[in-house]
Symmetry: C2
Subunit: 214 residues, 2 copies
């Protein structure tokens, strides 16, 4: 025998793997999942196409892994903010604001992470983190309701709506192109306010009227 997988090789291997994952992130943030090809990723990582397949069994699993890496980090950040001291209202608006700020920094990537359909494995991985975000918001809403800060409501539905509002208002197809930072800030505040009021406002009398007449 004349070979043994040494420490150094192990590191190089891990490093190459990491570079490929980073390359996915970069390519996806430029062209989205739709336009991302394995050859592009290899190019961006500085390896040959075939090398990608020595590290990952398929495009779907590679991309899913890359998404999971990023998404978990984002979930952690938002969850940390949501777990701070303070009223439920301030925690919710801070969490929403942080999510929003980070998303608009890299809109294309954010949209790909949260919504853009792709290979089945990617969709499955995304669903996990989508739910994780929703769970963070849902917990804060429940806390607020328990503390009497927010009215009784379907917390799961409200959390899903918050995600939806953020997605569509900030980074989805309806979001305005915002090359300008001050507009972006204002937009984030509008959306944060929308979400906070939605979960915190006491039901309007007019709502009941509408319900009884329709």
């Amino acid at each position: 025998m004349a070979y043994r997988r040494t420490e150094r090789v192990e590191e190089q291997l891990q490093d190459k793997r990491d570079r490929i994952l980073q390359a996915v992130r970069q390519v996806v943030s430029e062209v989205g999942f739709r336009g991302a090809q394995v050859a592009m990723v290899a190019e961006a990582a500085g390896v040959a196409t075939g090398t990608v397949y020595r590290h990952f069994p398929s495009k779907g699993e590679l991309f899913a892994k890359a998404l999971a890496l990023n998404a978990q980090h984002e979930v952690d950040v938002v969850a940390a903010v949501a777990a701070c001291e303070g009223s439920a209202a301030s925690r919710l608006s801070d969490a929403v604001r942080v999510f929003a700020r980070r998303a608009v920094q890299a809109r294309r990537l954010a949209w790909a992470m949260i919504a853009e359909p792709a290979e089945a494995e990617v969709d499955a991985a995304r669903l996990v983190y989508r739910r994780a975000f929703a769970d963070v918001f849902e917990k804060v809403i429940r806390d607020g309701t328990a503390a009497g800060e927010f009215p009784a409501q379907n917390a799961a539905a409200s959390a899903a709506c918050v995600i939806g509002a953020l997605n569509e208002g900030l980074i989805g197809p309806l979001a305005p192109e915002a090359p300008d930072l001050s507009n972006t800030r204002a937009l984030i505040e509008s959306i944060t306010a929308f979400c906070l009021q939605a979960v915190s406002a006491k039901p309007y009398p007019s709502l009941r009227l509408v319900e009884s007449t329709s």
Copy 2:
């Protein structure tokens, strides 16, 4: 000369075209844009694959046409509700409710119509109708603000958020599977309430506090 395109043939042609468009609707409502193939559509329409190409120049244009047909109808329905007599609050909640009710009747189709990415032509067509829905909601919000019913706000952003909340809360990936009608009704009311309160609630003092501290 020994042939002329007669009335009857013209009708048969139009009929076949219509059947193909209907078949797209059916196939998409079953497997979404992702899984919809031209061969399936042809099969569902009871014609050969090649026939599809005698009526439409490409898959993208066929699917875009089919989407436009449906979406315009939905926009008209929602717009009609939004144009009724009544307070802005009642018009908005009725419009949201109608959108929601119709969407849950055919969730897969609704999601495909409003959000699922597909061929470039389809995306382009969808954007038009997405905006059309947003415009309907935006107009009601503006009316409400002008009448002093709603507080001042970024109406365009709020309208986008309403679309997003509906999409995610009702028909998107986070929406609960709801085989049961009563749950569906309750969900629709939760989401309608969420949207109405978001646009109609007076800003909370706590919001200002949060803004000044962050």
